[in-house]
Symmetry: D2
Subunit: 140 residues, 4 copies
């Protein structure tokens, strides 16, 4: 069985959008991950702050890494986000995942995004469905 580091390395290698966001995985373990990125100009919306969709994307990638960390291929069913505080160009954002529930076929994960001053920027909650398959099936 693959360990969490191997799983996330495999996911990231093929994850074009996380690469575009220039995500850095700070830590990864079973059921959790911590992921950072800098806010760049291409991520801004029409009001000069980070696009809500990019905040969601940062949380969603951290969620996906945490969900799949036990090499049980897991898909997001739904997710919810509350926008708390603006982030602007140059901010360093860090998403931290807490595994609220890990069942056999489903899981619930909370993600908090904070900036370099530890201000809370957004909170995210996702519901995941586990397929029971390895991420490495038919690939190695």
């Amino acid at each position: 069985m693959k360990n969490p580091q191997e799983v996330v390395q495999r996911m990231l290698e093929q994850d074009h959008f996380s690469q575009w966001m220039e995500l850095k995985v700070n830590s990864i373990a079973e059921g959790t991950s911590t992921v950072s990125m800098f806010v760049k100009q291409e991520m801004l919306n029409g009001f000069g702050v980070i696009h809500g969709g990019v905040l969601f994307s940062l949380a969603d990638s951290a969620f996906a890494f945490a969900c799949n960390s036990r090499d049980n291929l897991t898909l997001a069913l739904d997710a919810q986000i509350n926008f708390i505080k603006k982030a602007v160009r140059g901010d360093l954002l860090t998403a931290s995942v807490e595994e609220v529930h890990s069942g056999k076929t489903t899981g619930v994960y909370e993600v908090k995004i904070r900036n370099q001053a530890s201000d809370l920027i957004a909170v995210f909650r996702g519901t995941a469905y586990r397929t029971g398959k390895s991420l490495f099936e038919n690939k190695d």
Copy 2:
């Protein structure tokens, strides 16, 4: 007072991330919008399908255009998305907004994303807060 077309044109001009997604605004009117994009390689996740965050971003941009269409500066408080079906590179996705509720200070919007075959890809619901300011204040 500005009309919906003028508002969205102003928003898009400065919206770097919607530009990156290459969004096309098909229609815009008070409280609604229809927005399309093609799924490109940079939008894919580690499983070869569109990143959930990009789907959310498409819906979130359409939501923002609809919310602000009356030139009342409106901010997203929270949003929720259900992922229904995969989308892959080359798919043409269209997000359509329905204004479920338009109150004086808050609003509720539903967004449906469909592909070129009219298959439902995702459903999104957002809650918005109206500031009462013009988007053109201090700018014209």
Copy 3:
């Protein structure tokens, strides 16, 4: 196989809380249901309007009837509600369910609650997990 009417009759017979709410099932078919109730004094909160939890409960019961209508035992994973307009004692509320997605193991359902004047009171969205079991197993 049981038809939707038989399934909902069985559910209601044993559903003490829906009985307490005095729910009336106006219609039931595969993937949908319409359910009504009157707002009674015991349902009010400290502000003299219907308790948000009772609105949610009405939607949740309608959702459960729609989900289980094909006699595939289905559980709610999560749900979300937007509160649009107040309801007061004596109002007649009707919840109508739309099946947004019906997959093999999961489903997505929207519920709209309206009052006797057809004003929208709340919108609800639930994600359900299908167990593949009959509701009548080990019981008949």
Copy 4:
């Protein structure tokens, strides 16, 4: 200005549905509350477990007490719940509120419901809108 205890006492006196649930407020302070109840037969659904709407209602009442604790009349805009584990008749459920964000006009609150064995039963998140009015206006 009223203190949190006075505010919640006033809310509870007039809250028929929280009375029906036989809620006990274990603690209340600015931005938080802890509330308990026993699962009684009238709260069960057709599957012999607590109705999802009653779980939501417990969380929603705790949320309302926390939101209004500073005597700033606050209304729920929307809320979301994940159902984690069943609760049955006789269980003692406790809802604990965390104030994730307290802004001038809006707030975000997380509620966790646990049973007597400290098992997590459900997680809830609500978005609230502050009116700026006292709960005691025109009443004292």
